[in-house]
């Protein structure tokens, strides 16, 4: 084997080299057809939107989308032949489906903000509902009692659901006992329990029997039923991600199973466990039915977990939104916006924490 030496004079000069992206080079024909395929349907749809009386959603779905599909197909047929047709159909439908779901999500967010924004103010977040009637102006009264009530109920629910959920996950991934298939089956079934059933369960077993009255504790227990499967399944998944080498490594140092779990596996999965808890809270925080049944409602700020019904954001929204007073309805939207913001904060927190340096 001998290596051939290239004549340096035939090589491009290094001094003239600039970073380039040759894979992005397009022929003018390609660029032209892409531009046409995007612009023509948009112009036609825009023209019809201005001049005809076709409702916008119908225009988008029945005219613009098929038009775009045909235009993209023709464009890819012209540039790449028949192989391009399937490609363009898939791309247009994928983009269409994405935009469709984004529009729904954003219009939901938008209507929350538009209708709820007026209600939001420091006093709205801090005051309670005592002496407030549905016709009271927006400057008075607020959701402070409901925020505290929701916080109290969620705290009590977490107190029950987090230890049991994590213990369940540990049983499934670490203990690996004989009942694992059954436990997983029940946890999965539990995640399908309708929330109203959880509320009814607490109502019939604890409240009707007289063990508890409608209270934060009863509401928290109903919430715990809904939170448990989310925590257990998410924690199970993050524990599965902990490499087995760490477990055998700990055992090879003369560790017991319990110490391996508590000192090596759980710390390694720490951020994932936090995510599991936050996802569990986000799952339940907006549920209304269990609280209507188990926690009741109140206008006062209640910090006692037992003994008296307590307000919460979902029940506050539920009670205000159907009232025939514009300010009450605005309050409901404001509370809904506040709830949405809390959930968004929780999810952001979960994302940030799960990006942590240690223990992915």
């Amino acid at each position: 084997m001998s290596t051939q030496t290239l004549d340096p004079s035939t090589l491009p000069s290094l001094a003239e080299q600039r970073p380039q992206r040759p894979w992005r080079k397009r022929t003018p024909k390609f660029t032209a057809s892409v531009v046409l395929a995007v612009v023509v349907p948009a112009i036609v749809a825009g023209f019809l939107w201005q001049t005809s009386s076709i409702p916008t959603p119908v225009l988008m779905v029945a005219i613009y989308l098929p038009l775009q599909l045909v235009a993209s197909t023709l464009a890819s047929l012209a540039t790449r032949g028949r192989r391009g047709i399937a490609d363009s159909v898939v791309i247009v439908s994928a983009i269409g489906a994405t935009v469709f779901s984004l529009v729904i999500l954003l219009s939901l967010l938008g209507s929350l903000i538009v209708r709820g924004w007026k209600a939001l103010s420091p006093s709205f977040l801090l005051q309670n509902n005592v002496y407030i009637s549905p016709s009271t102006p927006l400057e008075y009264g607020g959701i402070g009692h409901a925020v505290l009530g929701t916080a109290l109920i969620v705290f009590l629910a977490s107190l029950v659901a987090v230890p049991i959920g994590i213990a369940t996950a540990i049983y499934i991934t670490e203990v690996r006992g004989r009942a694992v298939p059954y436990v997983r089956f029940f946890v999965q079934s539990m995640s399908g329990v309708p929330s109203v059933v959880a509320g009814l369960f607490i109502l019939t077993t604890l409240i009707v029997t007289g063990a508890l009255t409608q209270s934060a504790l009863a509401g928290g227990l109903a919430y715990a039923i809904l939170m448990l499967p989310t925590v257990a399944r998410t924690a199970e998944e993050v524990l599965r991600l902990v490499p087995d080498e760490l477990r055998t490594g700990a055992l090879a140092l003369g560790s017991t199973r319990a110490r391996t779990v508590f000192r090596v596996v759980l710390p390694a999965a720490r951020t994932g466990i936090v995510t599991a808890i936050i996802l569990g809270i986000a799952r339940i925080i907006g549920e209304t039915a269990p609280l209507l049944l188990a926690a009741g409602n109140s206008d006062q700020t209640i910090l006692n977990p037992t003994g008296s019904p307590v307000a919460s954001l979902p029940t506050y929204i539920f009670n205000n939104v159907a009232l025939p007073y514009p300010d009450a309805v605005t309050r409901a939207w404001g509370a809904a916006l506040a709830l949405m913001i809390f959930v968004a904060i929780l999810f952001t927190l979960a994302r940030v924490l799960s990006r942590g340096r240690l223990g992915r």
């Binding site: 140092l253 017991t256 090596v264 710390p267 223990g359």
Partner: protein
């Protein structure tokens, strides 16, 4: 840096000539056969490990070396479907007898794995001391233990100024030396090493081999390796494993390293140590 490496080679060569280890048997395998589910992967292994000796297990992939080494400290049983026949005697007592706690066995017979596995939630120092916490072992003077074991593992000078950084921040070779230090901190009598250098560069490999020679004054070592020069450099005794197609692995030949590599009795051993198959 480079002078230190040259020196270490000299040390290695000097120690190659040290007399054979004592003849007291510390660990002994008798007729060990191993199954995973219905599949027999190892058959009739008889082997004894003299106190403070280094034994290399060589052989092609899939011949049961790693499986065998994991039976020696009862890690084998953690794999679902695992089964075993025969006896493993540690200080004359079967480690699989009913009254033996596997936790005690694993404490006395430590292990270093192929892939470095420092605990990600712990610092370098925490990793070294983790064995004490995990096993509940009481030893005073933790600072001394950290320095001592990291020095023995050849890592001290590289990490002494950042003991509170995460163990996962170290390079692969450093992580491997870190887990060796971690294994040493619980003062095992036997150290099992499952291809400890397979993921390391030659310089780190040399450092670990040096560590092995040093350790063998106090600890009995069993090392699985695919690197035949490594077996020659570190091991007093060598065992050659081989599995014929669709058959369980067996020990084809064992004896002193000089004999296995210089004058093997079995033709297959001769072929293997000369790199003609496997």
């Amino acid at each position: 840096m480079s002078t230190a490496e040259f020196e270490s080679v000299d040390v290695l060569e000097a120690e190659m000539t040290t007399p054979a280890p004592s003849m007291v048997t510390e660990l002994e395998a008798r007729n060990v056969s191993v199954w995973f589910g219905p599949r027999k992967v190892l058959e009739g292994v008889n082997m004894s490990f003299p106190k403070h000796s280094v034994t290399a297990l060589i052989g092609p992939s899939g011949c049961g070396k790693s499986t065998f080494i994991r039976t020696l400290n009862r890690l084998h049983e953690l794999i679902p479907g695992a089964a075993l026949a025969g006896e493993i005697l540690y200080e004359g007592k079967d480690i699989y007898s009913r009254d033996v706690d596997p936790v005690h066995i694993r404490l006395a017979i430590g292990m270093v794995f192929q892939k470095p596995n420092p605990f990600p939630s712990m610092t370098i120092r925490g990793n070294v001391l983790s064995g004490l916490k995990l096993s509940g072992m009481k030893r005073s003077n933790h600072d001394d233990i950290v320095e001592e074991t990291l020095t023995a593992a050849g890592l001290w000078t590289e990490v002494k100024d950042r003991l509170d950084r995460a163990g996962g921040e170290l390079s692969g070779g450093q992580q491997q030396r870190l887990v060796i230090a971690r294994a040493l901190a619980v003062q095992p009598h036997v150290l099992l090493m499952d291809e400890p250098c397979s993921a390391l560069d030659p310089a780190s490999t040399l450092k670990i081999e040096e560590t092995i020679r040093q350790l063998s004054k106090e600890v009995t070592i069993v090392i699985v390796t695919h690197n035949m020069q490594q077996a020659v450099r570190v091991a007093d005794n060598t065992a050659f494993f081989l599995a014929a197609e669709n058959e369980p692995g067996r020990v084809i030949e064992q004896g002193s390293t000089t004999e296995i590599f210089g004058n093997p009795k079995d033709e297959r051993t001769l072929d293997y140590v000369n790199g003609r198959f496997g």
